[in-house]
Amino acid sequence: MSSLSQRPADAVVGQAIPHESATLHVTGAALYTDDLVGRTAGVLHAWPVQSPHARATVTALRVEAAYDVGGVVRVLTAADVPGLNDAGVKGDEPLFPDEACYVGQAVCWVLGETLEAARVGAAAVEVDYAPLPAIITVREAIAADAFQGGQPTLARGDVESGLAAATTVFAGEIDIAGQEHFYLETHASIALVDEAGQVFVQSSTQHPSETQSIVAQVLARPSNAVTVQCLRMGGGFGGKEMQPHGLAAVAALGATLTGRPVRIRLNRTQDMTMTGKRHGFHAQWRVGFDADARLVALDATLTSDGGWSLDLSEPVLARALCHIDNAYWIPDVRVNGRIARTNKTSQTAFRGFGGPQGMLVIEDILGRCAPLLGIDPAELRRRNFYVEGQATPYGQRVRHPERLVHAWDDLAARADLGRRREEVAVFNAEHPHAKRGLAITPVKFGISFNFTTFNQAGALVHVYTDGSVLINHGGTEMGQGLHTKMLQVAATRLGLPLERVRLAPTRTDKVPNTSATAASSGADLNGGAVKHACEQITGRLAEVAASGLGIDPSQVTFADGLVAGGGDSLTWEQVVALAYAQRVQLWASGFYRTEGLQWDSTAMQGSPFKYFAYGVAACEVEVDGFTGAYRTLRVDIVHDVGDSLSPLVDIGQIEGGFVQGAGWLTLEDLRWDESDGPTRGRLATQSASTYKLPSLSEMPEVFTVSLLEHAHEDGVVYGSKAVGEPPLMLAFSVREALRQAAAAFGPDGCAVHLATPATPEAVWWAIESARSQPVEASLPHRAEAAGVTIDSGDPSAQDEHEPDQPEPDAPPIAPESEQLADSGSPR
């Protein structure tokens, strides 16, 4: 066991404690960035002027009329930018653009004494646009060959001969929906300038260091003149990894120009129309199975919808490619990836970071093909699991594949799947107008940033002379409980009760050059750094205590606020006082970097992940045959978090991730205006009334989560595993259960295609397609119903599947899809 993962008895880590801010949350005392407005004097408020065009050159910008509005103080335009007019790290995100690239893009900002003044002022700004042709959908981008960034291929073996040798080859495609983050707290920043010209930005950001460097880049200041602080976020989910930077920069620019604090807070509509979302994907594939229904080859092309600029699209795509295998051994693989450039918001990080989209491809394939192979989908999945000794398509050995089997079997027993499957069959036989489905799906998710450099973190731990401890680390708190875990790590390592340790908000002048709090890695990385800092302190204090106790420093232990050894002990406070008197340093900075990572992003080969997190979910749904509406009856989960640092937090992450994933796959329906009308490119679902999140009413009646036992992870802080992202993908079980329930309206062995998101309408079309299948339908006929063709294995056949197919949201059956395209005409 590594010293990093070793955990003392009765450790504070592992205790199920509430979120460190829970009492502040429930009383409204917890402050978020925009709560500071009323606590700051003389604040100016900012309002954007947003483009109504999906793509247009800004030919003229007349701001004079805005100044006629009472209370308008300043209009910010490109001419005001002293540094680089760019909000990103790739040089493709102009902050004040001369070409608008999507509906809603800010072309300039108005600052007012009140928000109302800024709003009215923004409405008074006159902008002339020369509209240009725009690309809205991925399929349009494919047709127009409009891509951005690299086009990586992940390959192993010889996919063509693999497919040629397969017993059955299927081909198909899928459109995967994007997702709005809908963190409850929208983007917010407040910037101030002090008497020395130092810029201080409070921002709701997952990546304070990058926010800092973009602010510096826009202002043409060195980073040491800019400090960014994040108190806490009201949710991030990846949406505040890159998107806050430009907003912080505008606030900072306004503050430097006016000398007054400037606040930007997007309202919900602005947030939804201006900032990036989860990438939608289009995937096209051929898959081969042998006579035992084992996967032999997969050939796929994944095209992500990048939106107007690259931001994180490349690493998102890389993770999608690296997760197309999910939990399954596929000998011959070729996956091509490319990023469509579309005139939409710049799609960005979102919990799972491409992983969910990649995994959905294979889970959808298995769900569609199982009936065609004549095999139970659960058996098909389980049969194809990785076993010890096998490696992923990118060449990383899959460690602990047996954990997945344990989780699967454990879940099957806990959730009584055998008996419940029979009950579902009986229910379905007895109910013509309602059907149930019960599905079980696995998750294997790689942990670490794909980009090796980011796998580092810092911390600062102070011990004051009264013995109290203050910690600071580079991670941000967005509800995931990172701060809670860091307090537990510090208390454990220092041998102190939790109350003796406090944590201060994340600031770039405390811990510099931090990575984004992302990739689920916050606790792994910052926990390593906090522990490292604490170890330096205990090392020094051990020396002090040893001389006091008359023993060797190696005999000294720290536990329960006592520093002990040789049968005697001193209190922590006594040792701290002694150390101070002896002029021993009582604070330390910690650093951590993940060892053993290696990644060649060109060859798409290496071992980019420290380890894999595993999980299994079983879900039972009931579908209404009249409407396609459904209820989730029961969800059971077994998930691998290693040795949990904080079980209440971890279970919260699992449940929350699952529900968010279920939202993505079933309910949340981003709609863009794809018509040729004047509002082409407009986000049609730009508010909470049209974009629906899961609510309490959709909660499964029974919802159980167990943490996988015997799951110690060597080489990670106190034996734990990351938990932020992997559980999101447990929600595949909901989609597959819906598919099975819809298919149950048809004859036995019927296969169906289910659109994403599986809204009641999408489920209803799947039911209709099941109902229309004849009892003795031939395999090709059944395959057609699943949106799958039976392929010869001949690569030239690929061309037939080029995107001249129904629209993404269209139902899979022809008459209705024509109906959809033909708006409003009678049947």
Partner: protein, 476 residues
């Protein structure tokens, strides 16, 4: 004009309305006063992060008070004049948690915490609800609050663990006295003024004086216009506490529901008296919205996807319009004239809705939406049928979401009336129903799905109601 300075009692402390206009919402006002516990997550009544408690007359006993949770983002600040408000800060403090706050904190009910103040206020309203029978929580109490982090399980557990308020709980005891009376507020704001009508005559007088004024009842529709679409009326007339609009009569001829009763009040006071309404109301928005929304507001907006209209069409209801010149009553099928237009004259108010008796016995309300609760309808179908001796003797079907106005499905009604109550009739009628109106494709549903759902509504009604009778040849 009253000379008193408008103010509200918030967490026991009087707060004034300096700088407030008719369009200023309560959330912005509270936050400007340093009470930043309530959050803005959407500004359109969907997320509940802004929820606060207001002391209102109890729907079940006028002499007592109910702590009613409302969306502060929609309620005009000025409407709180003279009222008592409790925010999350007023319930408890980090060192002295309210029982609701404690349950939420210890069970992991907060992750990022941004939604939490709203959940706490909705839960507190449920905690203090006088007719709550056991220690559990009504399933709908939290239907207007969204959380993006937790997945709700710990919140549901916290709700299920609510005990009963202790005898010396100050907010619990406050319930025993009447709620504050409505105050005839007159507030002049920089970008618009606000007046609360003292009674119906005052409302007419205000309307006559300010013909450009906007009437506001629960403000659940109007608040969205203000917040999202920038509506800034020069003058707002609040009518939600006008006694004449808040009556409820149930006699031999009709059930008459005041236009300004909140839907929560209607739901609880009718208590299942009109089954079709009882089916509708839990599916209408959320508890938070129903605590403000009124039937008058729902009909006045004349939204083609409003949920009350299809039900009232099926009930053959009448709309009672009142003006200083008197009243007129007309069938609701004649009320709507076009997309968001009605026969109501600018000087008229909707005073009440009259539901004639007896009620048809076979009824169903089907609402098609993406989310089961708190979602706007893609299609809504309300049916009320009478079946005698195995034949349909009367059919009324109201539809929403298939035309520019809510409509009656006249052709379908005809294909049912006078025909045997049989599978054959219903299938034929369902086909006719699929052809009613002119449904369109939009973000909520495709036209094809909308059409299919019209038919489904009738087929399901038959499946639910017909089975026992077809064998016996008569309807129960």
């Amino acid at each position: 004009m009253s000379s008193r300075m408008p103010s509200a009692t918030v967490n026991g402390t009087p707060l004034g309305f300096e700088g407030v206009s008719g369009a200023t919402n309560a959330l912005d006002w509270l936050r400007s006063k340093g009470l930043t516990g309530a959050k803005e997550g959407c500004a359109e009544g969907e997320c509940g992060a802004c929820a606060v408690l207001v002391a209102r007359p109890s729907p079940t006993d006028d002499a007592t008070t109910e702590w009613t949770a409302v969306n502060a983002c929609l309620v005009p600040a000025a409407s709180l004049d003279g009222q008592e408000v409790v925010t999350v800060e007023g319930l408890g403090s980090p060192d002295d948690l309210h029982p609701v706050q404690r349950e939420m904190a210890v069970r992991g009910g907060s992750q990022c915490g941004f939604c939490t103040p709203g959940f706490v206020c909705s839960l507190a309203a449920e905690y203090y609800r006088a007719d709550r029978t056991d220690a559990g929580c009504d399933a709908h109490a939290l239907s207007g609050n969204l959380c993006r982090c937790t997945g709700y399980r710990p919140i549901r557990d916290a709700a299920d663990a609510l005990g009963m308020p202790s005898g010396d709980d100050p907010l619990g005891r406050r319930r025993d006295a009447p709620a504050p009376d409505a105050v005839p507020t007159r507030l002049v704001g920089a970008t618009g003024s606000y007046a609360r009508a003292a009674d119906l005559a005052d409302a007419f007088a205000l309307l006559a004086e300010h013909p450009e004024a906007v009437l506001v009842a629960g403000s659940t529709d109007w608040g969205v216009e203000v917040n999202l679409r920038g509506a800034r009326p020069p003058f707002v007339i609040a009518i939600d506490r006008v006694a004449e609009l808040r009556m409820l009569d149930d006699d031999d001829d009709a059930v008459v529901v005041g236009a300004a009763l909140t839907l929560s009040e209607v739901e609880r006071r009718l208590d299942g008296r009109v089954p079709l309404l009882a089916e509708l109301l839990p599916q209408f928005a959320s508890r938070l919205i129903r605590n403000g929304a009124t039937l008058g507001g729902n009909l006045a907006t004349a939204s083609p996807i409003g949920d009350a209209a299809p039900v009232l069409l099926a009930l053959d209801a009448e709309v009672v319009l009142a003006s200083s010149g008197g009243e007129r009553t007309l069938p609701i099928s004649e009320f709507f004239t076009g997309y968001r237009t009605t026969v109501r004259r600018p000087d008229e108010l909707i005073r009440a809705v009259r539901i004639p008796l007896p009620l048809s016995p076979v009824t169903a309300f089907t609402k098609i939406a993406k989310r089961r609760f708190d979602d706007i309808s893609g299609v809504a179908v309300a049916c009320a049928l009478e079946v005698e001796d195995g034949s349909v003797t009367r059919a009324r079907i109201g539809l929403g979401g298939v035309a520019a106005t809510p409509i009656r499905a006249f052709a379908t009604e005809q294909s049912l009336e006078g025909h045997p109550w049989s599978e054959l009739t219903v299938h034929a009628a369902a086909e006719v129903l699929r052809g009613e109106g002119t449904p369109i494709d939009d973000l909520r549903a495709s036209a094809a799905y909308r059409r299919a759902m019209l038919g489904s509504a009738l087929l399901r009604l038959y499946a639910d109601h017909a089975q026992p009778t077809t064998t016996e040849g008569a309807r129960a």
